[in-house]
Symmetry: C2
């Protein structure tokens, strides 16, 4: 297997990206192609012992920065690490692409300029595995701020196929994330999506609120990308706020300081469990190839985990499953404006 | 001051509602009018020592239940505790209405059948004080699942006036809650609202993500009711999930159990700080009277705190401030489809 790692992706690129690639090559034995500015990537790679590791560099002269406007940059920086890396996947020179870079950039380059969509897909979407025990997927997490009911229907299908393949769940439970479970709740988008999901052949279990989602009442939570992004970001913010508060409160007197020291192993386990780095990254579902987008603030371990996720998507043939799923789906699943 | 408490509101009514009213009458000395089924409320009241407390009962023969459809129930149950209570406010027999009942029910009865909207208000909205240190308001929290830019503009104005009056902030910072701070981020609704807020005369500080909102970068976070409701519910779910996980992990071995015991005071302070009961309830802004809606699962203390919030809104003349604010606002703030 050959996996492309965008060496110019993360906020602190190329250090964590290169170190993560080295770690992945060592752990998985797959060939890793680092794409980016050759001299910089070489210099970074020289800091590691890479003897015998299947690593190589592919030069790309440009970088789509976090501050770039995705649409514009995807048109003007045709030799960016994202373009070069995704072209390798498109041309069959590599099996997957991993980047911790500008999410909108990867989206635009993958969807509009290189891989393009799987036949029948209206809008690719970002799935995120929620870092709680049951590991449900929330989809879309920000690829599509404004959605139509048909998009949400397809997000449900793609998410369902993903968790079926990757988590090994049979007949995954698909739910709409909403402000209430009762009939009549939801916004117009939700209300129009319900009948589509109900007749889709998916295991649609109704609308659920965040509380039920966090308790594992669904394997796939479907939402528009604006709401999904705010839900994920709220969850991360609250978790981080609570951790800070706990630390602060524990420091308030000698007994709680001692208590905090004794409790430390327990807190470590919780932090690890809730750590988005463990999950790896968000798969971009619906494009014609395996793409995983990691957090901009990814460290070495997070990049390595994103590679892990990408190789698993290749192994389990997630892209092929989505293509076949769309072919076999009832006509309304692939009907839409284009 | 005379405050109506819906005795038939909470999930466990009338016990917590009546007990909360008694606690409020004792603490604040205001006259409390308990509205509900007279025999049941009398029986409940008899469990308390109410000697000398300014409490009375107003009979209402019907109850809008949590399971009722709000629109329908508000039309058919004209003698519900919500109708009777809100009519008292409308007719000047009371100064405020507090209920832990069906949110949609209170909304419908207040907006369509009794108090009605303040002149110029397009849509009343639910404001929620986020239970973090800085106590910012998130508005709308679920009154309007589908919104137009003009609604959001008015939510910003109403929220701004609320925190100015109640929290004593001058020139409160108003922000749009969005999936990114950069230009070009947001869904269509957000993008169309930006120019309205920017030229509104409010202290509009731009778009903020949940992380910045949780760090107190704005005093008022404006959002549509669908998104706002999911954000609040996600925050509550994550806080509760983390508390459960911490408890479970702390029980895992003797040292962490000891650590947990020693840390207990610290955890108690955090739980109290994040406790939605402390806040009291959500003010329904934009209707012609003071209305506070508490959680369905409110306990005695939460009901009492909701009364506290309502009396403060009366004292600080929040309804009058909104009416005046709308009169003085630039024309686009009150322009709209109706």
């Amino acid at each position: 297997m050959r996996i492309v790692v965008d060496a110019m992706g993360s906020d602190a690129h190329p250090a964590p990206d290169v170190a993560g690639a080295v770690m992945a090559a060592r752990e998985f034995g797959d060939e890793i192609i680092l794409v980016g500015d050759q001299p910089r990537v070489e210099a970074e790679l020289a800091k590691h012992d890479t003897t015998g590791l299947p690593l190589r560099i592919q030069h790309a002269s440009q970088v789509i920065e976090m501050t770039d406007k995705p649409g514009e940059a995807s048109r003007t920086k045709k030799d960016s690490s994202m373009h070069v890396g995704l072209r390798l996947v498109k041309e069959g020179e590599a099996d997957a692409f991993v980047s911790a870079g500008n999410t909108g950039g990867v989206l635009a380059v993958a969807t509009l300029h290189t891989l393009r969509r799987i036949r029948g897909v209206l809008r690719p979407a970002l799935g995120v595995i929620f870092p709680i025990k049951e590991r449900p997927m929330l989809i879309d997490n920000g690829a599509n701020a404004d959605c139509k009911p048909e998009y949400l229907l397809q997000f449900g299908l793609m998410g369902s196929l993903y968790v079926e393949r990757i988590l090994g769940l049979s007949n995954p439970r698909v739910a709409l994330l909403s402000n209430g479970e009762e009939e009549g709740k939801g916004n117009e988008l939700i209300k129009e999506t319900i009948p589509l999901l109900a007749s889709s052949g998916l295991n649609y279990v109704g609308n659920i609120e965040p509380k039920e989602f966090m308790r594992g009442h669904a394997d796939v939570g479907v939402t528009d990308g604006f709401t999904g992004n705010l839900v994920i970001k709220t969850a991360e913010s609250v978790a981080s706020y609570m951790s800070d508060q706990i630390r602060e409160e524990l420091m308030s007197n000698p007994l709680t300081i001692l208590g905090g020291l004794l409790s430390r192993p327990a807190f470590k386990r919780i932090r690890r469990q809730l750590d988005p780095d463990e999950v790896g990254g968000a798969p971009l579902l619906g494009v014609n190839g395996v793409v995983v987008i990691a957090h901009g603030r990814s460290n070495t371990y997070a990049v390595k985990q994103a590679v892990r996720q990408a190789r698993r998507m290749v192994e389990m043939k997630v892209v092929e499953a989505i293509a076949t799923g769309l072919e076999k789906a009832p006509t309304q699943v692939v009907a839409g404006e284009e």
